[in-house]
């Protein structure tokens, strides 16, 4: 719906790279302190954004397109191993990854008097600080930071304790099928699964499972008991609300982030293990969701015509109410949306009915519709214009609200939204995994290698020292015993 009256905005890749270079190289400013407990998440936003912008190491040259990836990549290949080691240092002996370095116990005594007594404690008795989101983001980072070439890609998950993560994750599933984000022994209360009823953890569990599990069958070496995929699927499907969206449960208000998590989780539970980006599972999805037409209606309804707020209070911070101006009558909008309008149309998305515009909802809505095979329901030219004209900041990155400062969360999802809708100059992004398509290929290889080793290690433990070849594993992987 581009029209001749005004030129379409362009994505300034160099400017965004400059923003991410700053986030990569200098400590994040103090106002990120509230995210200190989820530092691994921030790390994922930074590295993922750089990979989307650099098209994965600049392998697809973009000469003449103004891309900065012709020079030295922001993350030098020689730094990959060091960064992967940092990520791996967050892995917990009882499974999973810690969300923040400030929770880690030093591997060796660091204090001057360091008596080392802490090291005498058996590993399994230490309180675990792993959580589910940090585990997903760590695995994604390891894949994003894989060395180039077949060997590097296959080795991306070297050091990941696949079996322990899968066992730990199973313990985070509740009786109703949902997942919490952490598990703890509470004094006098026993095992406690914390983190609220939140569709994000359901998505994350499905994602980790797809990234690590493989389809070994019971009795095979390396096999780990699966979590209850049927219960998870029932929980997700049961969280559809009366108006068609998804919430943390059907008792609550639907939310675009949760709707994305619901449909992406369902797609991951049915996703093939290899060549997975080639075959989206939208048909399976559409048949299992209780009311797909209503879901599409709800998702399409998240888009609204963005109207500029009045100019009189430019000094005040944007309050939530300020950037959602609801016209009283539909006829108030028909001239603005007319193809002959002299003013470029901007379409924003909100996360809930009658809420305000936010960069990330353009991603959650576009990605959810893409998972469902329905990106055709998005007014992409006008949504793209909104992102680039109103949300892109002059120092690079994207803000939460129009006129606000950029941050790594909105910066990443602004790019991901553009990429998933095919923005020229950016890497292709997988809508269900929120990773560049090439990185998804790395995950597939890295998982295959982990599974191959698991089978091999198992055989050795039995004392047989049998060489279990690639062919055996390959056969196992091609079996049709995949759950879900």
């Amino acid at each position: 719906m581009a029209d001749a009256n005004h030129a379409e905005p362009t994505l300034d890749i160099n400017r965004h790279l400059k923003y991410w270079k700053m986030c990569l190289q200098a400590p994040l400013p103090n106002h990120y302190l509230s995210n200190e407990g989820v530092r691994m998440t921030l790390a994922y936003f930074i590295v993922n954004s750089i990979r989307i912008l650099e098209q994965e190491g600049g392998q697809e040259d973009q000469a003449g397109k103004g891309s900065a990836n012709l020079g030295t990549p922001l993350i030098h290949p020689k730094d990959h191993a060091r960064l992967r080691a940092w990520v791996l240092s967050h892995q917990q002996p009882s499974g999973g990854f810690a969300p923040s370095s400030t929770l880690l116990y030093p591997p060796t005594p660091l204090t001057s008097s360091g008596n080392g007594s802490q090291r005498d404690q058996p590993e399994e008795e230490k309180p675990t600080v792993a959580n589910l989101p940090a585990t997903l983001f760590s695995l994604q980072l390891l894949a994003l930071l894989a060395d180039d070439g077949e060997e590097g890609e296959r080795g991306a998950f070297d050091g990941v304790d696949r079996a322990q993560i899968l066992r730990w994750m199973k313990r985070l599933q509740r009786a109703d099928g949902s997942f919490g984000e952490v598990g703890r022994e509470m004094p006098g209360k026993g095992w406690f699964i914390g983190g609220g009823y939140d569709m994000r953890y359901c998505y994350i569990a499905a994602s980790i499972r797809w990234m690590l599990r493989g389809d070994l069958r019971e009795g095979e070496e390396g096999w780990v008991e699966d979590f209850d995929t049927g219960a998870l699927e029932r929980y997700i499907l049961g969280s559809q609300t009366y108006d068609g969206g998804f919430a943390g449960s059907s008792k609550e208000e639907p939310h675009a982030g949760y709707a994305y998590c619901a449909v992406a989780a369902l797609s991951l539970l049915h996703r093939p293990l290899t060549n997975s980006t080639a075959s989206l599972t939208s048909n399976i999805l559409q048949s299992s969701i209780r009311d797909t037409p209503k879901l599409l209606h709800w998702l399409a309804s998240r888009q609204f015509v963005y109207l500029e707020p009045p100019q009189n209070d430019t000094n005040s911070d944007y309050e939530d109410e300020d950037n959602f101006l609801l016209p009283a009558r539909p006829s108030d909008l028909t001239s603005i949306t007319s193809p002959s309008s002299p003013i470029p149309l901007h379409v924003a998305s909100n996360g809930r009915c009658n809420k305000v515009a936010d960069t990330c909802y353009t991603w959650w809505v576009a990605a959810a519709l893409s998972v469902l095979g329905h990106s055709d329901l998005i007014d992409w030219p006008a949504s793209r214009r909104f992102l680039l004209d109103r949300m892109a900041h002059r120092i690079g990155g994207f803000s939460k609200h129009p006129g606000g400062p950029p941050d790594v969360y909105h910066g990443c999802f602004g790019l991901a939204a553009l990429a998933v809708m095919g923005e020229e100059g950016l890497a292709r992004v997988d809508c269900a995994l929120a990773l560049p398509v090439r990185t998804v290929g790395v995950v597939e290889k890295a998982r295959e290698e982990l599974v191959r080793k698991a089978v091999g290690d198992g055989k050795r433990e039995e004392g047989g020292l049998k060489e279990v070849g690639f062919v055996d594993t390959g056969l196992a992987l091609r079996g049709n015993g995949r759950a879900g």
Partner: protein, 360 residues
């Protein structure tokens, strides 16, 4: 509630005269576990020294599995600096349980923290956990349940007065309703009606009302889907809700919350959509009478031709026509939405037209 909270547990702070833990005699026996950022760390945050020091002591006591009043105060100290650190909240909960502290005291303390940190959701996880452990103590005492329900409702009202659509508060509210069995509590429904009267576009309030009315265990079928007919819901409840919502739609016809609610009620009650055709038609005038040669396109004036007071009404009308088998009128409605009244969703309306062909 509780009068004065013990300083030993709440508000007493940590640190010596200079505010540092390292000079506080109470902490002299603890060797802080200092973090050294390795080379190659990602997403380091420039946090203040007192935060770094507190975290070093936290690591030490967490690792030693110490649960004590000073640990409780240490978590308060860190939460003041960073209320979003869930691991710290979990450790705090472990202290509350290990020390067997009165849960209502902790809730009283938490109210103040919540009011200072409106957007924080870890606070709500903590509250949820406290209520899960408090409820068994009062479950057999209706007066205690009722008193607790009233104090929670008052707190929720205070939170919503700061932000009427706060997702965490509304999630917590639906949890409290289920946990304490407040479906038939007249005050709960009245509170929601008050919020809708204040802002008819408050979709959070509409969602809560739907839950309150259609998940009431007095008649709702256990486990019934929110998107499906429930034979258990009495007809008079369905009638009451239709009357309520149609009245609210008249106040703001372009407010989608009301229309979504109306559709949800019709489905729950197993009603034909056509039974509200008269009402819906009030908002769509002379459909299709405006011709392309009219020249009014884009001027936003009603003129004598077609006028649509609510795109959501026209959307529902399309469904009503489809339900009645009037495919051409349904198709016309969808076409007009995509061509004029709701152009940004033309892709959606075209998809609906295709469904019409397949479905009819």
């Amino acid at each position: 509630m509780a009068a004065e909270l013990k300083k030993e547990l709440y508000g007493g702070g940590v640190g010596g005269e200079d505010g540092k833990l390292s000079t506080d005699p109470e902490w002299a026996d603890v060797e802080p576990v200092v973090l050294q950022e390795p080379e190659g760390a990602l997403a380091a945050i420039a946090y203040p020294d007192d935060y770094a020091e507190a975290m070093a002591y936290l690591r030490a006591v967490m690792q030693a599995k110490e649960h004590s009043p000073r640990c409780l105060r240490l978590t308060e100290h860190i939460i003041e600096m960073n209320p979003a650190h869930y691991t710290v909240w979990l450790y705090r909960a472990a202290n509350v349980f290990a020390l067997n502290l009165p849960i209502l005291d902790e809730i009283t303390w938490l109210n103040e923290v919540a009011l200072q940190n409106l957007k924080n959701y870890q606070i709500w996880h903590h509250r949820h956990l406290l209520v899960e452990n408090y409820h068994p103590l009062i479950a057999s005492d209706p007066a205690a349940i009722s008193a607790f329900a009233a104090s929670e409702r008052a707190f929720i009202a205070q939170m919503l007065s700061e932000d009427t659509k706060n997702y965490h508060v509304w999630s917590y509210r639906s949890y409290v309703v289920s946990k304490l069995g407040l479906f038939d509590d007249a005050d709960e429904l009245a509170a929601i009606e008050g919020l809708i009267d204040k802002d008819v576009r408050n979709n959070s309030a509409w969602s809560h009302r739907f839950f309150l009315v259609f998940s009431n265990p007095a008649y709702a079928t256990p486990g019934a889907a929110a998107t499906a007919y429930d034979a258990g819901v009495p007809a008079e409840v369905v009638d009451r809700e239709i009357e309520y919502v149609t009245g609210k739609i008249r106040l703001a016809p372009q407010n989608q919350s009301g229309w979504n609610y109306l559709r949800g009620v019709m489905v729950k009650g197993g009603r034909k959509l056509a039974s509200v055709e008269g009402f819906v038609s009030e908002f769509v005038i002379r459909l299709g009478e405006e011709r392309s040669e009219g020249g009014k396109e884009g001027e936003g004036e009603e003129g004598e031709g077609e006028d649509v007071l609510s795109t959501h009404a026209l959307d529902l009308l399309a469904e009503i026509y489809a339900e009645k088998g009037e495919k051409e009128k349904a198709d016309l409605s969808l076409r007009r939405l995509g061509q004029k009244w709701d152009r940004i969703r033309v892709g959606y309306w075209e998809w609906r037209r295709k469904c019409l062909e397949v479905g009819a």
